[in-house]
């Protein structure tokens, strides 16, 4: 019975850490989704595609430059590239739809997902790509006598940093406060002379930037390929919903629940590991349909 053998404190702790580092990636992606959902009230289906683009751009940049610097430049630049893609899509098409029925906005983001997915196929092809983390982040170190990948530890550091920065941004800066106000009452924000359309553009781009950052961060741990977008987007939506729509801390709580149930599912019943997070989501939604934390809707 291998499973019993693994049920030591060390085994549990290492699964917990793996789950936590997965949760950090999910959090970075879903906080962006949640931000867009909160301010624009649009479930952005293309969010997963922007995450995928982030990973592919990170691949191209890190291979063009190479070495340790390549990775860091990719990590900094690919969110910017993704943000630019989002800005173009928003200003050229999306911004003309804000007055329209809600379902149409949803449909637009779906169309965007279809288009971006095929554009990625055109630029990068359907091959599997991989990215190397910098030398000092490769390999593993021993925690509680079991090996743990260094890169996952790095993710565990990055996640909270992003959370703190997001909190500082939305509570301490003027732009962040305006965005939060627009989430609650967009008419009022417009009435006091703020250009709501640009607030929306800004929120959309910031949210997509986070998707790009998530994609760049995840790229050394997975094979970068088409279909990444489909895999992440549904998880991201469910996480945002169980956390509370538009609530950043909700995204964090939801990501933790999702990541940890997934890694413990691997421990207890590997064949059905992917079932556990969905089960957790179903239980939360039946118990509290509007999410665990307060939704801005």
């Amino acid at each position: 019975m291998e499973i019993i053998g693994d049920l030591t404190f060390a085994g549990l702790a290492s699964h917990l850490l793996v789950g936590l580092s997965r949760a950090m990636i999910l959090f970075i992606v879903t906080s962006g989704l949640s931000f867009v959902l909160g301010v624009l009230r649009v479930p952005n289906i293309a969010h997963g595609s922007l995450y995928m683009i982030g990973a592919f751009v990170a691949f191209s940049i890190s291979h063009a430059i190479g070495g340790n610097t390549g990775f860091w430049v990719a990590l900094l630049l690919s969110p910017v590239v993704v943000g630019l893609v989002a800005l173009i899509a928003e200003r050229s098409l999306f911004c003309h739809l804000y007055e329209r029925e809600h379902l149409m906005l949803l449909l637009f983001t779906f169309a965007l997902m279809l288009i971006l997915g095929d554009l990625v196929k055109m630029f990068w092809g359907a091959d599997y790509r991989s990215i190397m983390a910098p030398k000092y982040l490769r390999g593993s170190i021993n925690i509680f006598d079991s090996p743990f990948p260094k890169y996952n530890l790095f993710l565990l550091v990055i996640g909270p940093i992003v959370a703190v920065l997001l909190w500082l941004f939305s509570n301490k800066t003027k732009m962040g406060k305006i965005a939060r106000a627009a989430a609650v009452d967009r008419e009022m924000v417009g009435a006091i002379g703020i250009n709501v359309s640009w607030v929306f553009a800004f929120a959309f781009v910031l949210g997509c930037l986070l998707a790009g950052l998530g994609g760049a961060l995840v790229s050394p741990t997975v094979s970068v390929t088409l279909g990444m977008d489909h895999d992440i987007i549904m998880e991201a939506f469910l996480i945002v919903t169980i956390g509370g729509l538009g609530n950043m801390w909700g995204a964090l709580v939801g990501s933790l629940l999702f990541g940890i149930t997934q890694s413990f599912g691997v421990l207890f019943w590997p064949q059905f590991a992917i079932v556990f997070p969905y089960l957790a989501v179903v239980i939360v939604l039946i118990w509290k349909p509007t999410g665990m934390l307060k939704s801005v809707w």
């Binding site: 289906i45 169309a111 549904m234 992917i274 989501v281 349909p289």
Partner: protein, 318 residues
């Protein structure tokens, strides 16, 4: 919906029916197969439109029920020795039962929360089917399912599907014309008032979901008849969105819009897909054009052109 058919409409319908009856005799087999696939997707889209267009519910994971119907049918045929007709009835029933269970949880909620809970529950079913290798074949699915000899040729299966599809259309039409259908649209337009006049809103919504999932199950069974295989993508949320798009594309406030939407999307994939691998890009561009220029769908647009003063089934401006 008009109350009586004019002579012109009846003639038009009869002409279309005669055409689809004769077509398989003159067109190549591949086209017959594509047409049959269009009927299957059209039935699925029609069943979804019952709850989305007429019921106003955010049924975001309709494919789950379609897949349950298809898998039940396929599993009974391959794993048991039961006769064909039992499998044929069990598929839709299983889908309807799943619809009743999932719908029961969902009807308490509204709009996006309804949709998200349904996606969560549907994804749960998908994840189980995807990983349960010993029963469902996991991500490989089940292929080469034997059909009875009377419907095994392409033409025979085409006529079989055509008959079932036509019957389903008639039943759906009658349901939508019935007091139940009218109540459903009333609930869509003003749930509070319906509650006040004594209509059990949640029960009506649940009934609509069960009917719609039952038809989705029939579509699933018919898919297996055409394709002879099942795979987990049948329950994946991408398909759910695609069917949703069919309704919006064709015109979700019209009766026959979803058929047109299904025909457009299936033919796009089949024929554009043979010229270029980037057919989803083209679909995306078409969708954006649709959003900007034809927000009520192709059929909705045509209906408005034909009868500018009457808005048919439309909900009125929201």
């Amino acid at each position: 919906m008009r109350d009586s058919f004019s002579l012109k409409t009846i003639g038009f319908l009869a002409a279309i029916f005669a055409l689809v009856l004769v077509l398989p005799l003159v067109i190549p087999r591949f086209y017959t197969y594509t047409l049959a696939l269009i009927y299957v997707m059209a039935l699925l889209a029609m069943s979804l439109n019952l709850v989305v267009g007429h019921g106003g519910l955010f049924q975001f994971h309709h494919a789950a029920f379609y897949g349950v119907g298809a898998y039940t049918f396929a599993l009974i045929l391959t794993k048991t020795a039961m006769p064909f007709w039992i499998a044929f009835v069990a598929g839709p029933l299983a889908a309807g039962l799943t619809g009743c269970l999932i719908g029961g949880f969902c009807v308490r909620l509204t709009t996006l929360y309804f949709g998200m809970l349904q996606i969560a529950l549907g994804s749960l079913i998908w994840a189980i089917v995807f990983r349960w290798y010993s029963l469902t074949g996991g991500d490989d699915g089940i292929h080469g399912i034997d059909m009875p000899s009377c419907i095994s040729s392409t033409n025979a299966s085409y006529y079989f599907i055509l008959v079932i599809f036509t019957l389903c259309l008639i039943i759906l039409y009658l349901i939508l014309k019935s007091p139940f259908g009218i109540t459903l649209r009333a609930i869509r337009d003003n749930p509070e008032r319906c509650e006040t006049v004594g209509i059990n809103v949640n029960l009506h919504k649940l009934a609509a979901i069960v009917i719609s999932t039952l038809f989705a199950g029939i579509a699933g069974v018919l898919f297996v008849v055409v394709e002879r295989s099942v795979f987990p993508d049948l329950l994946f949320w991408i398909l759910s969105l695609e069917v949703f798009i069919m309704c919006l594309l064709g015109g979700w406030f019209t009766f026959s819009g979803p058929i047109l939407g299904a025909a457009i999307i299936v033919s796009l994939r089949t024929f554009v897909g043979t010229y270029t691998e980037y057919w989803t890009l083209i679909l995306g561009v078409i969708l954006i054009l649709l959003i900007f220029f034809l927000p009520e769908g192709v059929m909705g647009f045509l209906a408005q052109k034909a009868r500018p003063h009457e808005r048919g089934l439309t909900a009125g401006e929201k």
